[in-house]
Subunit: 85 residues, 2 copies
Amino acid sequence: MDSSAENPLVGFARRLREIRLERGLSQEQLASLAGLDRTYVSGCETGRRNATIRTICRLSDALGVDPAALVSDLNQLPLEADQDP
Amino acid sequence: MDSSAENPLVGFARRLREIRLERGLSQEQLASLAGLDRTYVSGCETGRRNATIRTICRLSDALGVDPAALVSDLNQLPLEADQDP
């Protein structure tokens, strides 16, 4: 499990960016709506930040989606990666 | 938003405990399956721990559920709480 520990963050990053762009928001606008720093949002979107429940809820609130939308299927990413031995 | 910042953790705590009990697992068994400390799982189930994406994924993996199951609707808890002025 340790070797795939980075993957959920990459999946989250992709999801966050996708939904933010669908909403037509800049990272700065999303950060402002969520009460977070722009560099933090940027860090989430590059898979560097391991966001907490509170932050996931702030971001999903700001995006107008259920928190589940940001984390659904994240466990499947490591499994896909594991298919290459 | 700050005043409701605790609520997502309480919702997460409830959800985690509920699914763990459905699986017939003790906190110790879940901790062992997820590669976490039992006191950390206990902290999550009492709303004291603000788990990260990686931890949410470890827990959901161990429980055999999608990570979304642990965080869906968490944003609605603050809204309900806000109905009492």
